[in-house]
Amino acid sequence: MKIQELKKMKNEGTRDLSSRERRHFLKMGFIITGVYLGGRVLSLASTVKAAPSSMVPQQGEYSYSPHYTMVVREQRCIDCERCVEACRSVNEVPEYGRRTMIHEKRRPMADDGFETVFMPILCNHCNRPPCVRVCPTTATYKDEKTGIVVMNRDRCIGCKTCMTACPYNARYFKEEGRYVDKCNFCRDTRLAQGELPACVTACPAEVRIFGDLTDKKSRVYSLLHTPDTYVWVLRPETGALPNVYYTTA
């Protein structure tokens, strides 16, 4: 039947519908609602209540307050590794371990030369953190207030599933304390005293910018909302929803 013909037809109304048909329709509605509701309940509960509509959450979508975020301006990084060293001394990171590191990206240029960009990496404090989901003992969890992915050291059984699950290679096992160690934005060592994370302060090139994304006046907010810039996250395909952003700003 063509849509034009349908338009011409008279509305039959609902008066002539038998109660059997009405019941049938209602039943179908209930089944569909039930299936969706059931599916929603059964699906593994994620740690955020609402997933953001884009990579950077919009106003009204922030899951935390303060919603701590780090913005990395990687094109400014000179690979001096002061961030790595500051982190090591402030957080007592052993020689074999690292909470943060710097990778070197290289691509060929038109003049036969290369462009080198240094890419600092650290825990992404994901909003849907794979490490938190897999931990059998909730030894690693999202801080309810700030969204920082934290370790409860005494509860870590050392199964290393979080290390296997992390898409970013951000965790290592610290033999000295027998727990999996990771970046916590210096929550205990500096944030608690009102100071910025050690790597942020140590960086001479202002590569790492740290702040509260819910605060429109913060630098992280303005960096992530600057025209003519490109903002990205690492390994977005894993669905982990990172809180560490990279930008050309």
Partner: protein
Amino acid sequence: MKNLFVSLVPQSGGMEPNDSKAINMTMIVLAILALIGIAFGVHSLIIGHEHTFGVTREVPWGLLIAVYVFFVVTSTGLCIVSSIGHVFGYDNFEPIAKRAVYLSIVTILAGFLVIAFEIENTWRMPVANVIGANLTSNIWWMGTLYGAYLLFMIVEFILLLKKNHKTAAAFGLAGLLSGVAAHSNLGAVFGLLNGREFWHGPYMPIYFIASAALSGSVTIIVCTYIGYKVNHWQMSESMKTSLRSVGKLAALTIAILLFFTIWKMITGITGHPPGKYLAMQTLLSGSYSINFWIGEILFGLVLPLVIILVFRSRNITALFIASLCAILGIMAMRYDLVIVGQLIPHYHDLPLVDYPKLFSYMPTLHEIMVALSGFALTGVFLLLGEKLFRGHVVEEH
């Protein structure tokens, strides 16, 4: 407790065990080997894996996870095989059922022994798993369900010894359900990791259950054969028929696994899926190709299938050899599955300088010794079981 144990061990009936020096010596040697392995495990627990194990931050799971998976797959498989006769009443599978239940307990304990040394803070588990229970964690479910499974299987075995077959069957069913649930969760431990392309997807839990059926079938064939050989027992006709049926089940599961493996290969290659392709290439033509083609495919699947088909599952010695091949191949399957899944670098899609194309892992002496202790323990309890329970004979009922 001692009285309970004495009352359970049959003093007569069944078959007269061979009390030769050779068997006793073998048990002692295996027990010593197990103890040495445990000593290596304790040593690495004390001084830390960093100094004793080959695992790294990039490849945090090594040989011991593979061996743990091997043992619990075997245990679940033995439970499946035992339940065919015991729970579902297929007479052909009755004669092997009691031994299978016993060995399912032994192999899960061997698995727990190995994982106890792989987890760095084992002692925190009893409390942390309860007060910190994480219902979204597959590893939590696996541990909890395997705990329940072990309990059900032990009760089932005790009831079998007490000849209370009806209640035993109920516990057998409970064991089967919890075992299958636990085992598929073990598959999900790997399959639900979005960041590990080689593992991610529904394949793992399905594959784990299918390969459990194979592991269980070939293990019961091998262990029954060994039990009879070392004790110089004559196999009854019903036992031979039973083993032939198990052999057919093994052939069927091999066919299923071949089918799975072929499609896993094709999906890993077609369109070069990021991450997955690299892992598949590592298996097909890279540094793990010998493991894959010789271990997994030739020993694990093709040889046993050919042997079973050529002898049409009739020759028991041929069945034993086929099963032994399969066990070796299954070990390679577990190892490749656990290790290769982690070898793909996290940032493989970025043009990084001085960044490995593939991570590497090599087990250390400590890891190998702990792994051996699991096998040695299984050997001791296999021989001890034959002796104590007089050939695990299932009475006609």
